[in-house]
C-alpha cells in the first residue's frame, strides 16, 4: 500500500491508481451484493440493500470529508462537525417549507414535484442555501472557537469543540423541540427496475451528486493554488507559512469546504430519511469520524471509502435484523482499526506526535 495522502500531486501513476481504486470498489460492491443475495436468498432485496448502502455511504462520505480535512490540517477532532451537518439538514427543511417555495410549488408534506425543471430549481436553491450557510457557520466556529486556541494545549480546542457541539444541538432543540420533523419529499417514490428491485431516483441522485462533489474536491485539492496551500499546511504549518501561505485563510478555507459538504449531506439526509431531528448529527458524526479513521485520517479518498464501508457494515447489520447493534458494531470497528492499523486503509504510517 503505497497510496500516498491525497495530497500527492497527480502524476502518471495517479491515473492508474485511480483506475485501480474504481476497479476494487466495483469488485467490492459486487461481492457485497452476492453476499447479501446469498444471505437474504433474494437478489431483489439484495439489490435494494446495496442501493441503500451506497446512498447512506454517500452521506457519510461527505460528512467524513469534513472531519478528515480539518484533522489533516490542524489535527483537531472537530466534534461540532456532525452537528453542523444536522443544522444543515434543518436549514434544508426550513428552505423547503418556507413560504415562497411552499406557496408557489404547493409542496405537501409528501409533495412530489413532477416537473423536472421545477425540481431542479428547488434542489439547486436548497443546496445553495444549505451549503452557503453551513460553510459560513463552520468558518465562524473556526474563527471564534478554535483559532484563538491554536497555540493552547491540545485539550483546550477539543473542549471548545464539544462545547460548540452542545450549543448547536441545544439551540436547535430549543427552536424545534425534541421530536422528528418530517421533511417534504421532492422525489417520486417510484424509480427504475434493477435486478428485480425498485431503485428510487433519489438514491441514484444522491450517489451521483456525492461522486461529483468528491471528484470536484479531489481536483480542487490537487490542482488549485489554494488546494496546494492546504496540502502544504497539512504537512508542515511553519514551513508552509515561511513559503508565503496565509495560514488563517487556508484553515478558514478548509472549514468552509467542510461546512459546505456537510450542508449538502444535510439536504440528502432529509430527503433520504424523510425526517430530521436535533440529535441525529451527533451519531452521524461519530460514524463519519470512524469512517475517516478507517480510511486513513487526513486522506480524502480514504474518508470517502471509509464512509461507504461503514454504510455497508450498517446496512449489513440491518439486513440481519441487528439494527439496534449497528452503532456498537461501528464503534468496535473504530477500536479494531485503531489497534491494528491506526493509519487506516489508505493512510501512511504516521509516527506518534506528542
Amino acid at each position: 500500500m503505497t497510496v500516498a495522502r491525497s495530497s500527492s500531486p497527480a502524476s502518471a501513476p495517479g491515473f492508474i491508481r485511480r483506475f485501480r481504486l474504481v476497479g476494487y470498489s466495483l469488485i467490492g460492491i459486487v461481492a457485497y451484493f452476492l453476499l447479501l443475495a446469498f444471505m437474504l436468498n433474494s437478489t431483489a432485496t439484495a439489490a435494494q440493500q446495496v442501493a441503500n448502502a451506497l446512498t447512506l455511504g454517500a452521506i457519510y462520505a461527505l460528512v467524513a470529508l469534513g472531519y478528515t480535512m480539518v484533522y489533516g490540517i490542524i489535527e483537531l477532532i472537530n466534534f461540532a462537525h456532525g452537528d453542523v451537518f444536522m443544522v444543515g439538514s434543518f436549514v434544508a427543511l426550513w428552505t423547503l417549507t418556507s413560504d415562497p417555495i411552499f406557496n408557489v410549488v404547493g409542496l405537501g408534506q409528501t409533495g412530489i414535484v413532477t416537473n423536472i425543471a421545477l425540481l431542479a430549481g428547488i434542489l439547486l436553491l436548497t443546496f445553495t442555501v444549505s451549503m452557503v450557510l453551513m460553510a459560513v457557520l463552520n468558518m465562524g466556529i473556526e474563527r471564534f472557537a478554535y483559532r484563538p486556541l491554536r497555540n493552547a494545549p491540545k485539550v483546550a480546542p477539543l473542549i471548545t469543540a464539544i462545547g460548540v457541539s452542545l450549543i448547536l444541538q441545544n439551540v436547535i432543540q430549543i427552536i424545534v423541540g425534541t421530536g422528528d420533523r418530517p421533511v417534504p419529499q421532492l422525489f417520486p417514490t417510484d424509480g427504475f427496475q434493477f435486478l428485480g428491485a425498485n431503485i428510487r431516483y433519489l438514491n441514484l441522485f444522491i450517489f451521483l451528486v456525492a461522486l461529483v462533489l468528491l471528484y470536484g474536491l479531489q481536483q480542487f485539492v490537487s490542482r488549485t493554488r489554494l488546494g496546494r496551500a492546504m496540502r502544504a499546511t497539512a504537512q508542515d504549518q511553519q514551513a508552509a507559512q515561511l513559503m508565503g501561505v496565509d495560514l488563517n485563510q487556508t484553515i478558514a478555507m478548509t472549514f468552509l469546504i467542510g461546512g459546505a459538504l456537510a450542508g449538502a449531506a444535510g439536504v440528502f439526509q432529509g430527503q433520504y430519511l424523510g425526517y430530521v431531528r436535533f440529535d441525529l448529527g451527533f451519531n452521524a458524526g461519530l460514524k463519519a469520524f470512524t469512517a475517516a479513521v478507517l480510511g486513513g485520517i487526513g486522506n480524502l479518498t480514504g474518508a470517502a471509502l471509509g464512509g461507504f464501508l461503514i454504510a455497508f457494515l450498517e446496512v449489513f447489520a440491518a439486513a440481519n435484523g441487528q439494527q439496534r447493534w449497528s452503532q456498537a458494531i461501528v464503534f468496535v470497528v473504530l477500536i479494531v482499526v485503531l489497534v491494528f492499523r491506526p493509519a487506516g486503509i489508505l493512510g501512511q504510517q504516521i509516527g506518534e506526535r506528542a
Binding site: E75, L76, I77, F79, A145, P148, L149, N151, A152, P153, K154, V155, A156, P157, L158, I159, T160, I162, G163, V164, S165, L166, I167, Q169, N170, V171, Q173, I174, F282, N283, L286, F289, T290, V293, R324, W325, Q327, A328, V330, F331, L334, I335, L338, V339, P342, E352, R353, A354
Partner: protein, 383 residues
Amino acid sequence: MTGRVKGRTSLSRATLREFVDVHRSTSILLGMALVGVLLPLIALVPPFNIFQNQSVWVSGFSNAGVFVLLALGLNIVVGLAGLLDLGYAAFFAIGAYAYAYGASPFSGQHFPFIVLLVVGALVAATFGVLLGAPTLRLRGDYLAIVTLGFGEIVPIVFLNADKYTNGTNGIGGVYKPDIPFVEFTLLNPWPFYVLMLVLVTIVMILIYRLTESRIGRAWMAIREDELAAASNGLNTVTTKLMAFALGASTAGFAGAFNASSLTSVDPGQFLSTVSFTILAMVVLGGMGNIWGVALGAFVIYTVQIVFLKQLNTFFEGLPFHVPVLSDVNFVQYQFLLYGLALVLMMLFRPEGLFPSQRRKQELHAADAADTESSAKATMEEAL
C-alpha cells in the same frame, strides 16, 4: 512560625497556611468535617430554606456528592494527565450495574456494601484498562473519540442486552447500603449524607496524596510536554493508563454508591449528557485543583437540580406575568449553558474559576512563552 508578623489576622492566616502545608490530609479531613457540619445549617437559613426544607436539601447534598466524586475522578484524567475522556459516564454505569448485580433481587445476590464499592471500582478500572491500553498508545486525541464512542455504546449495550440487564426498565429494588448499626431508609437522608461525606473525604485524600506523589508529578509532566517527559525516561503509556484506570475506578465507585442510594439502575441514567455535565464541572471548577473541581461539581449540581427548577416554579407562582422569564423552561437551557461555559471558559479563563497554580501557569504559558521553564520545573520534580 516563620515570616514577619504584621498583625493578628495575618498571623493566623500564616499559621493556617503553614498548618495546611504540613498536614495536608488532616486539613482535608478537617475541611470536609467543617463542610459537612455547615451545609445542613446553611439549608436552614434564608434564602435557602425558602426553596425546600432541610431534609430535601440534605438528600440533595448527598446526590451532589456523587457528582463531586465523578468530577474528582475525571479531574485525574483531564486535569492532571491532560487526556480528554468524553465517555466518563460509561464507567459510572459499569460501577452501578456491578453493584446492582451484586445486591438486588434481580440477580438474587446480596454481597456487603463495602465489598461491592470496591468491586464496582475494580470492574470499572478493568474496563478502563481494556479501553485505554490500545488507544493510549496512539495520539492523545484519539482517546477523546474512542471514549466518546464508548460512552455512547455502554448504555446501548445495557439497553439492548435485555436478557441480562432488563432493558429500558433497568434493575430495580437494588439493596440499600448495609453497614452495621446504621439503618438506611429512603425517608431518612442523614445516613446517606454522612456516608457520602466519608466517601468523598477518603477519595479526596487518596487523590490528593497521589497528586503529590511521583506518579502525580509524572502525570503533570506528561500533560505539559509529553515528548520531554518520554525523553526523560517516563513510560508515558503506563503512566497515562494509570490515570485513565484510576479515573475509571473513581467513577465505578461513585456508580456503586449511586445505585445503592437510588435503589435502581437503568440505561437512561448514564447517557452522554452526564459525561458532558461532569466535564463542564471539571472545566468550570478548575482543571487540576481538587478543591476547585469539588466545589465546581457541587455548585453546578445544586444550580442544576435546585435553582433552575425553582426558578420555573418561582416565575409560575408569581401573581403577574413576566414577559420572557415566565415562559422559559430553564431546565431546558442547561446543556446550552454547559456548552457556552465550556467554550467561554476555554477562551477566556482556561484555568477555571478556582485554578491550580501550576495549571494556570501552563495554560497562560502560550502567551507568556515560558512553557519551557514551567515544564522543566515539573520535570525536575517528577524525576
